[in-house]
Amino acid sequence: MTYITKPKLRHPGIPVNKLGFTHRDYEGTVSTLCAGCGHDSISFAIIQACFELNIEPHRVAKLSGIGCSSKTPDYMLGQSHGFNSVHGRMPSVLTGANLANKDLLYMGISGDGDSASIGLGQFVHCVRRGVNMVYITENNGVYGLTKGQFSATADKGSKSKAGGSNMDSPLDLVSMALLIGATFVGRSFSGDKAQLVPLIMAAMSHKGPAFIDVVSPCVAFNNHAGSTKAYDFVREHNEAVNRLDFMVDREPITVDYAPGTSEEVELHDGSKLRLAKLHADYDPHDRIKAMTYLQSHAAAGELVTGLIYMDPAASDMHANLNTVDKPLNRMMEAELCPGSAGLKSFNDAHR
């Protein structure tokens, strides 16, 4: 079924993508988050990525758990169906949705509390299962919505606004994603649009479980000196392993990157990803090396950002389950019900 979207009157100067959509068409309702919240920048990067990739908004399903971060699907892609589910359990809902219709682009948006605390189990198993999705955590090290308690990603020794300090070891979702079989793993910073937008675009073009952890300072509860998820802290300790340039068949988005060695990777849908290497020793196709690299930099107090790992030949849950090409939600009795004829053999076998 194709419908031609009726042309709207718009200012001639506003950029339009190949589908004739402007940024506006990818926006959602007005955000109710705190002014300056990192999460809003991430929403904007997602909108930008969809615009650049010429994605039809209604072919995206956006799912989330509960938290400030999990509210953001409402603030983007107003023409997409969204599902704000329960705290920490979005991964299972996304899994089921994906099983029902393999043809949509599934975006899971979550927080560090949602994915690393209450929902750690679901996060891990969803990735393990190879669900084809883009899973983004908006990581601020705290529970924003319940006013600033530590989450499981808070660094040991980091201080809360209320004055307490965290004595528990932090959980790094990026390391974990690598360990449990994510086939695309990246990390970025909400304030680094130039890095974040192409990273999201590449994740959206990846077939398989793609995970991006985005450090996203909470201005209300976690952006003060002593917090490792604060704007200044991240800027100072950011260790980018590469720069991305994502190209769709015709017009590449060109970003002015520092020259150096570069490498082109073709993705399953024919689009290309160019990695401008900042570190010659970094190989994003080697899971083991990526893990070692991450750990040694973490030990040195550096936060590795960029495309950390990608398997261009990844497959997904539907391939593992050998499901038919037609989405399961479009099948009716003719395809699904064996009818009275099918019962004859069943009855005979039970006498």
Partner: protein
Amino acid sequence: MSQIKAVNDFVVKFANVNGSGSASANEMFARSILRMGVPVASRNIFPSNIQGLPTWYEVRVSGKGWLGRRGGVDLMVAMNPQTWDKDIASIDPGGYLFYDSSRPVPMSRMREDINIIRMPLTEICNKVYSDPRQRQLFKNIIYVGALAQLLGIDMEVLKQLVGEQYKGKDKLIAPNHQALQMGHDYARDNLSSLCGLTVEKADAVKDRIFVNGNDAAGLGCVYGGATVAAWYPITPSTSVAEAFARHCKTYRVDPETRKNKFAIVQAEDEISAIGAVIGAGWNGARAFTATSGPGISLMQEFLGLAYFAEIPAVIIDVQRGGPSTGMPTRTQQADLLVCAYASHGDTKHILMLPQDPRETFEFCAISFDLAERLQTPVFVLEDLDIGMNEWLCEPFTWDDKHTYDRGKIMTAEELEAGKTFGRYLDVDGDAIAYRTLPGTHPTKGAYFTRGTSRDRYAKYSEEGAVYQDNMQRLLRKLETAKTLVPKPVIKMAREKARYGVIYFGSTAPAMDEAMASLEAQGQHLDMMRLRAFPFNDEVVDFINSHDQVFLVEQNRDAQMRMLLVNECSLDPARIISILHFDGTPITARFIISAIAERMHLKSKEAAE
């Protein structure tokens, strides 16, 4: 010494050790009687254990076709020294004890009012077989051969069953035939005429099938169009998911591409299982999960979301003895309340209460229609007795004219034509709103699903009036549900009755027998079998048209009574509870004595 004499009407109980290979031999025994045209009801009573603990298998032989448990034992096949005393004690006076006499048993541990049939099974096996595993396995087959001789079971039928069981492993057929024959010949030469129980060929089974409820549930989900199943193993529901997988392999693999028209996920827990079912239901696939009580407890938060966000889901709960791990391999009807009111806040859910595997098949299939029509979770409440025992039922049937009711899903064409879409807008007066599926239309019909309060157009709102409007509509939706769920089955007594009896689920066959027996004694009661919640008007009418009703249920707290009194604003004094909750399936004898006692007391009270 008295001897119970009976033809085609007795109870045989096998006492075995779990994991000793007795299960398949015992089932073969039951099937051989069925093949002779005599109805049989069999029940496994097993521990939560893989090997070593006591297990029993009870075979009710009933030419009249009573398929519930009767109560009592006529012939005990006592193969487990651990449970000897209890097993001996359970035999009816004049009944029979068959045991392995290889080791002597002191007379003090016998009973004088029963008939004893001794067979040195271990000795015989040790003589013939050298491999310990063979000794064990063939011991079971040998006693089946001996019992066949004692009871008059056709050896040819047994041999044919062996042939069917080992089809493809033909090497095993001859040794099993030999073992059967060995048992038979020993009994003929040494034990003849010791047993007064007889099986005679009859024609009372007809074309009925012998099937368990979980197998039926898995098949019902295939027929009902389920394409997504997510589950986490738990006794006694595990075999539902396994059956679904097996039936999907038969019926749902595309013959050309060899690809699957189904997806099964073994989730990491029940929370994830119900989450995946809700995600799939939201996205328009028919999806279900199968679990038992502890799983239902874990699913509570999600069930509230599905109720409030109005997402179809089917949950098959095979009930077992609770609370907590309780009696995980025993049967109960004790999840009624936790399912009917699952989750926090004000919630009510649809319950389906099948009486046997055949109805389980039907109810599972139509649950997907109900879930999509009503856009809400639907529970199918089996119990361990239905789910894990083989029941003799009418063959399954399917109406090929039945089409799936997908409920109110607004299409792209309707949206394009300008039809008003309000996700929570009651346009037809039945309290059911239209939904759209993700990906339907580029610019129309998208909405945001959430567990937070919202207005009729799915816009977030915590305004009191808006919230109440929605909650009231959800309550009205339940009124619509009452007209759609299966009605109760009512059977009026031959004579006008002041008393009625209400029951549901696996109690049905024992109840049928109990009522026939009470009727023969001149006690007349009208019967109503509940088949669903919310209760339809017929349920209330039945109760109101009797002075008092007995409500028979298999739980401690009279949960169905609470539901009835609460939901139908009934006078509690009208409903007298009869409760059976020891974890074994209810028996006809239990019901008869419970009702007789209460009716007697009533008439005595009236006289005083």
